[in-house]
Symmetry: C2
Subunit: 209 residues, 2 copies
């Protein structure tokens, strides 16, 4: 075959821009991003608009609760969990992520409230205690009638480090500190656990020593 | 633990809507969609807007070329490849997907033009020849000075089926029909092949018998 004198044609700019933006999402590499972009090129105009609008609307309407930092809507801050009088204000479940609240709510076993840290201590990633909502947690301990803190961080390295740190911080507050039972598969992520496993872990929680 | 009398809290509607829309994308299940939604909740407002706008802009500005059905912009239809006089109008490379055109262009070895079928024959998925741009391909064979058709469908079951079908259809047109050499890893997808493998396959293409 003779060498090609024609100019090779690259991806049109709007497509490349969409691929670039999709590549910034976690777990989506350039190849997956290309696939998604070309899928959306062939999808109905309506589907692309629905997706784009859903993302914009979510971003515009969702806030983090000023008290517990779980997700909530603009018109409900503090969130429905924080202001629910049927919730036991003495038991506070501390999680890394809003998804963990949703997973725990599905077990229907936690009758207390929540506090979302928004991450876990991970020195390799440069995330220290000051980057999490730990200061706000300590404020709640002083302000609210909390008697037990259930540490429900992930059963992995940074989740365990965060649990140990919280245990230290709470040691002299007179609050009982418990940790979800090791019924959870070690090394995994809390939100991927099935509801039964999560329910077992809640029921079997034990004193930190 | 006593049973929970408090109402369990579910995902806010705007978040659920975003998760639902993300779940409609190929290769993204409900768990991945949740992850992406919560990532975007924490990302900068700007990033979410950039993503949404990139998708909308891509969808609004990108067309499929009326001649070869590769992607192009509204103001360039027929596309730049179709109207490029430096391209050899006698050699037509038939692919399943616009991504395949982009992959082949990177080898810089194909000096002819393209025709994008937009899929492959797959009876299990209910996709027959009439669902692909095969009628338009036959029209081009009659209209354009094409002497060779390089069948560059994927080296998998439906790609092979499509190649066999095209070979049959083109048998009495006097056009030489070639197929990319089996240097491609069988069972895989053309667009995932590295450039060298693709270049070998182009160079080693052989007569269909």
């Amino acid at each position: 075959m003779r060498p090609n004198t024609a100019q090779p044609v690259s991806t049109p700019r709007p497509v490349q821009k969409a691929i670039d933006e999709l590549s910034r999402l976690p777990g989506i590499g350039p190849k997956s991003a290309s696939r998604l972009a070309f899928f959306l090129l062939r999808a109905k105009q309506e589907q692309v608009e629905d997706l784009a609008n859903a993302l914009l609307e979510m971003r515009a309407n969702i806030r983090f609760c000023q008290n517990c930092f779980h997700i909530t809507t603009e018109d409900r801050d503090p969130c429905t969990i924080c202001i629910d009088p049927a919730r036991d204000a003495q038991i506070l479940c501390v999680v890394e992520d809003p998804l963990d609240v949703i997973a725990l709510e599905k077990t229907r076993l936690h009758k207390g409230k929540y506090h979302v840290l928004h991450g876990s201590i991970s020195p390799v990633d440069g995330i220290g205690p000051e980057d999490l909502r730990i200061r706000e947690l300590m404020g709640r301990i002083q302000r609210e009638p909390i008697r037990e803190v259930i540490v429900a961080t992930n059963p992995n390295l940074s989740g365990q480090a965060t649990a140990m740190y919280l245990h230290q911080q709470l040691q002299n507050t007179g609050v009982r500190v418990t940790r979800l039972a090791q019924g959870l598969p070690v090394g995994g992520d809390l939100e991927y656990a099935d509801e039964t496993t999560l329910a077992r872990a809640l029921e079997g929680r034990r004193e930190m020593s």
